[in-house]
Amino acid sequence: MIAFILRRLVQSVLVMLVVSLVSFVMFRFVGDPIAAIVGQETSIADRETLREHLGLNDPVLMQFLGFIGRVVQGDFGISYRLQQPVMELILSRLPATLELALVSGVVAFVAGVALGVYTALNRRGVAAATIMSTSLIGVSLPTFLIGVLLIWVFAVELQWLPSFGRGETVTVGGWTTGFLTGSGRASLVLPVITLGLYQMTLIMRLVRAEMLEVLRTDYIKFARARGLSNRAVNFGHALKNTLVPVITIAGLQLGSIIAFAIITETVFQWPGVGALFINSVQFVDVPVMAAYLLLISFIFVVINLIVDLLYYVVDPRLRVDRASARH
């Protein structure tokens, strides 16, 4: 157990080191960091002093260690384009992304499980068949096209919902939230559908497949033979056993939601971290790019680590296999 955790930890740290190396190389060798800081009138002598002062003449390894030291303290330098500390920029935009991702994740999970259970229990019904074939379209539509089509229908033609931005936001203890205002909640609807649709179909298909599998097992037949109500069999026994793999997959999808938020944020001009990253790629704003690279990798590494450990805790077979393999 401990060896397994250690191995996964070492692997995660290695991944983060590689990502930091890429970030550092970008940071240090793309363009001239001095030219990005000083104005045009600065003399060559002043530039050299600054270079020495910032440690840019040190051995590269020392610079890399210094870079990691600063990153751990949350110092990602100053954005070339916006002339603000990168950390400040990201922190100010993080609430928008997290709110969007959280709501999408919850909606996708709840709706996905509900539809999955429904289609599994009413396998031969017309409604279930319709849901299943519609979900195929949901999987093959690219995210950005879903967003654009939703804007067209609900914002342009019907004019029910806003097509861009977060609406009015309220600041609660440094966290800007759109949950508390009507326009904030209305602005969430279309981006949440855009971001959650794919994940929802994924979870729905998974729940349906797992549920059909579980419904065929002997203990479900036995539960029915005992005369338990449909409700108790379907939800108390079948659904419960379906949810273990579903929760792990849903956990892994959390990272995907944050990644796909880049696309959704751009379509809806949502002022989040993803839109900031796209802008930084367009304008080659290296400090923001490097910081985003580190941030998103960190999120993914942590999520994967947690899911791996959860697997280990939830599924006793994994532990048995490893123990017996050693003998």
Partner: protein, 304 residues
Amino acid sequence: MNSFARAWDSDIAYSFRRSPVAILATLVSLAIILPAIFAPLLAPYDPFNPASLNLMDGFTPPGEPNAFTGNVFLLGTDNQGRDILSAILYGARISLFVGFSAVLFGMVLGITLGLLAGWRGGWVDSLLMRIADVQMSFPSILIALLIFGVARGFIPQDMREELAIWVLIVSIGLSEWVPFARVVRGSTMVEKNKEYVQAARVIGVHPARIVSTHILPNVLGPVLVIATIHLALAIIAEATLSFLGVGVPPTQPSLGTLIRIGQGFLFSGEWWILLFPAVTLLALALSVNLLGDWLRDALNPRLR
């Protein structure tokens, strides 16, 4: 029996003839791919030649004569008087070029690394497969986006536009090598213990030659299926990146770029600038995807 009759009688052709979905998907993909290849001959206008554009033709609705010039455009025009049909033909050309090249690049890289990992085994294998595991835990569109961003940073400013399309191909290709490598590695590990490989070893054939002429042809089967499905994925990835404004340069608009432009005119009511490129992209991605699904089932002996 001539070769055509033999092909007609083969299992795969039989399965194709029996599948209406596969036939329809082939027809739709050909209806997009062929005109795209011959775009310079077929397109009614040259959408990238500013001299042929007339601003008076701008915003002509599809199929109706323009209010000022009386010109008729089958699918309408955009704000600069550019014919949407011609723009789609040229755009699909770029989307397909990037998609095919990216899959080709990812495929060659994946096959090479898969052969290497499967043949050598040991630390080479574990290193490559660890990298593959880590990469698979990120969504491929994110990988492509990050590689594209990093690569753009390293290219000198004056060459960025020029090289953008190649950087895009490499980024999408690098984001999709893993499934190829895994499948090839698996089959290589099976093949390398078979007698024909051992016989080749015994008579002293060079390992590089064994891998390339004896093992490679025997592991290529499943690769074709993965390549078809990933072609659809690559086309969507390209469209997504171009839609985000970080893909192909504005001088070479792909279907994604056209959809991005079209979105800007939704609110003023010029729906055709968005709709036609979007439908083309969707039809293309969907039909290639269905073809991939059909191919997977047709080549799978267990499903017959």
